[in-house]
Symmetry: C2
Subunit: 342 residues, 2 copies
Amino acid sequence: MGKGKVTIKDVAKVAGVSTGTVSYALAGDPRINEKTRKLVEEAAHKLNYIPNEVGRSLRSRKTETIAFVIPNTSSHVFSHPYFLKLLEGITEVLEEYSYNLQISTTPSEKEEAKAYDKILRSNRVDGIILSSASLKDRNILRMVESGFPVVYLGKWHHEEVLTVERDDFRGAYEAASHLAGLGRRRIVHISGPLDHQESVDRLEGYKQALSDHQILYDASLVVEKDFSREAGAAAVEELRAANVRYDGIFAGNDLMAIGALKQLKRMNIAVPEEVSVVGFDDIDMADAVTPELTTVHQPMREIGRMAAEKLLAVLQDREVPEKRSIVSTRLIIRESCGGQPQ
Amino acid sequence: MGKGKVTIKDVAKVAGVSTGTVSYALAGDPRINEKTRKLVEEAAHKLNYIPNEVGRSLRSRKTETIAFVIPNTSSHVFSHPYFLKLLEGITEVLEEYSYNLQISTTPSEKEEAKAYDKILRSNRVDGIILSSASLKDRNILRMVESGFPVVYLGKWHHEEVLTVERDDFRGAYEAASHLAGLGRRRIVHISGPLDHQESVDRLEGYKQALSDHQILYDASLVVEKDFSREAGAAAVEELRAANVRYDGIFAGNDLMAIGALKQLKRMNIAVPEEVSVVGFDDIDMADAVTPELTTVHQPMREIGRMAAEKLLAVLQDREVPEKRSIVSTRLIIRESCGGQPQ
DNA sequence: CTGAAAGCGCTAACAA
DNA sequence: TTGTTAGCGCTTTCAG
């Protein structure tokens, strides 16, 4: 039996009905007589018939495929541990609905526009889940506003667009407050790239926490880095070189926190005795390091699930309960801070 | 401009040629006159024409999409850190060739057969990269032997099938030899599930290394686990409960090694002073833990690249240089063993 | 070198 | 309740 050789015509012939009837019967259309349906199903089963999805898509204008798009500008996302959790959540839901998943990374930045156009208009996918990107990225804007079904993973300043967001502000607020509550007064913030909304929000949460604890904001304690371990280590090194004194670090993500931890160890600075450290993300690595990292947990798998559910609701013309969904974070206290807040 | 509304007909009309000519012109067919080609290209550009891939696929019987299939039986792969590297390698190559990537996880085991059939015969993808699976999995067998273009990531006992393999035996051999070279004599092996070829090969490499170092194989030192951190910790705990004495651990992967490390720490057993530990994989976590983990590096990104290259060679009727590709591993010596071998 | 036209496999509108 | 048929958008023979 050659692959894909048996078509709807063959089934129709064997069942002694027309192709239209086969199509309806297999789709479970109520208009088809029970007996005929049985007949068709038997024929299909005997021939081991599997519909050609391409023919189906062309006619019905549906692919039952969605794309998970990772913008070039945030290509780092791709190598981040939490990306897997996101993917897990998405695939779980898609499996339930028998949808397919396509992964689209965009190539070089200059070809991005074309790449997006292609995704949107080549009719290969019905909708997309868009990973968060730089605020400067104009292509994202076009994508989101194209009218094509999109769920954006992050905050988007537009009424109509569907999003699943973390509460970055609140997460950061709690993290920094925790440090302040432990008596830390000179708290460094190693932020992610500030052209990313999440970084901005985390920085704001940090500032608010300081303010609420009567700590004066000191710009020399904030360093902007790129979310990598190396950057976290570099930040600590730079602070040393600049002779900055501090007793706490709130890092914009776990990788940077872990890099910082390592550098502190190299410099023989004791964590948490001399410096308390908090991260953000709660990746698997966070409780593998020594000391175990206190961090802000974000339910990435759940976010993936929600995004997929939301997108499918649109595609299947079901009610979308809320345009913006905001999932909350949770502070996980481990060893890198030294005890519960006072 | 509505999405995907402009078709080849529109372009033909504007350019004043037939649709066939447009098709050829845009494909760069040399039969088309230079002038006509220009004309068509201009029209296409002016209309912002993007071909409907579904129509194209139906006619040409090519989707320019490949699937990366993760079998249910090895669903753990999905949550493993190196999976991302694999994905990175694959997407890099696919981007070069403008191919699309579909991720297929198979649902519950009982529906696996049907799911595979669908992937193979619904004409949605041109070929697949198949992640390694249980040796017992009959569905994999069918898939590999179906004649559909498949690249299998692992060893496969069949002449015709294309594979990209690690040298698990040699990697394990070197790991265990390293321990033996450090004077370790009672070396535990925490193996992965033994219905996976890679686990079997690593076990064999371990045995060979023992034998070459005049160490008697002791079955009580081998425990079979499931590749997770928890399992690694559990293994160490079980050894304690059974009062087994040992001075080295070779774990079947890094996660188990890291789990073991943590449990040893809980039990106040010093690494590497009392027990030397080696892992396998060299995931990012390996050099984040304390002590940093000595492990066997496998170039997952390169493996992904090779698999994609190989599959594309088949799909594009190019020469496939070798059916089986075996990439070698490399022992990375860090802190968890205590020094260079004698 | 280009146009006309068949047809990939399927669905859905219309007829019967 | 079922059959007939047009046509989704494209590629690729076959003529010219």
